[in-house]
């Protein structure tokens, strides 16, 4: 390489970096444009796919997202209004989150339309102890953890008992060896319902004329 003054040397070197930066920037923009919608859909589907499972009778495609302002903390939250195929308001899905044993636990709570009885629970995200706390995700048999929330009332506050809940109480039996994880889930449900039940009750009972709910079969709709 010939000897050039340092200044022009740096300039010559800089053009390579700038060229590369432009090229990579274009590549990333392309990636964002093509994959961005798909990623957003994946994220939403996490919630939408659970709607029929935790609110009986709900149709996934008829779910309507709503924003409510919590009456306890004043922050804005997203909730989902579940409708049946025929358009009847069958319930709500409320995302809730709380501190578990290890880290945050994110759940989806299904509740009926009059906001009185819990219809289901789904754990979206947790980092509890494998083999102990992480069994909170189980929702298969009649008695597994998530199913213990079914038929509980939204009021009074949910409690967590070490053994079978006494008759007349509103609570669940904790997972053996994972009381703190169980309490974490219950606390998440309680605080979300306390915060949002009031504002949710004020929302209209009918879906807006154009419910914008994405579904999992979107390949037909994409026009690429």
């Amino acid at each position: 390489m010939s000897e050039t003054s340092p200044k022009s040397g740096y300039l010559r070197q800089a053009w390579l970096v700038i060229l590369l930066a432009l090229f990579y920037g274009a590549a990333l923009a392309g990636v964002q444009v093509t994959l961005g919608p798909r990623i957003a859909k994946n994220k939403l589907n996490e919630t939408y796919e659970q709607v029929p499972k935790i609110v009986p009778g709900a149709d996934q495609t008829k779910t309507v997202p709503r924003t409510v302002k919590g009456e306890v903390d004043g922050k804005e939250y997203s909730v989902y209004q579940a409708f049946s195929m025929g358009g009847d308001h069958v319930g709500w899905v409320v995302p809730a989150s709380g501190q578990g044993f290890a880290d945050r636990i994110d759940v989806l709570v299904g509740i009926d339309a009059p906001l009185e009885t819990i219809t289901g629970l789904y754990v979206l995200d947790q980092k509890e102890t494998p083999g102990l706390g992480n069994l909170i995700v189980k929702n298969e048999e009649p008695d597994d953890f998530c199913n213990r929330f079914k038929q509980l009332q939204a009021e009074p506050t949910l409690e967590v008992f070490k053994d079978e809940p006494p008759p007349g109480s509103n609570g669940i039996r904790a997972l053996s060896g994972a009381t703190i994880s169980s309490k974490g889930v219950a606390n998440a449900v309680n605080s979300a319902l306390d915060n949002l039940k009031g504002p949710m009750g004020a929302l209209p009972d009918r879906p807006p004329s154009e419910p914008a709910a994405p579904t999992s079969e979107t390949d037909k709709r994409e026009d690429d």
Partner: protein, 231 residues
Amino acid sequence: MDTLIALIQIAIGAALINNFVLYYFVGICPFLGVSRRVDTAFGMGCAVTFVISIAATLSWAFTYFILRPEAPLPTWVWETLGGDPGTKVDLSVLSYIMYIFVIASSVQFVEMYVRKFFPPLYKSFGVFLPLITTNCAILFACLKILAELQDPEQLWGLHQALTLAVGGGVGFTIAICLMAGIREELDMCDVPKPLRGAGISLIVAGIMAMAFAGFAGMDSGIKDALAMFLK
């Protein structure tokens, strides 16, 4: 008061409960490489904490104002240039590139600072100071802050981001100093030949991780304890 308790939770979480090295596995290379003596380990820990704080502040600022979905600055630019005001401007695909440059610049800045004001320290660091750029811990802190900024319900402010960064750095320092102390003792022990060096360090790290796992669950109690104490 709630904010203070939340900050203490974040700090203790990052330093002890979810220790960057022993729980999240970031920062292992310097953890194994620089931990032969306690004083160099402590110096490395302080340098990393310093760099993490600067990098976290800069990346929080860039992410909050420019890179997150619907960030204020690009939205304003878009609208000034006559774009449709309804579109959500999302530059988050550039996040990783932005962060690594922020980190490289922070390390460069710290290097210049240390070289000017602490020459003997600079000499003792040698090649390890620029290598802090490839320390996973710093990028990891930035990624955690990004995750909290992308969740519209969390939307961390600078105070939370900085607490996480400093807490993480302090946790890294604690872990690396503990490891250095143990290795100083191990130098006088009869370690089996295949395990000398990285092998035995990792086994020691495993036992340390078990010890630190005892901190788990502390933060769910801290909130109640602090609330009671500060009332």
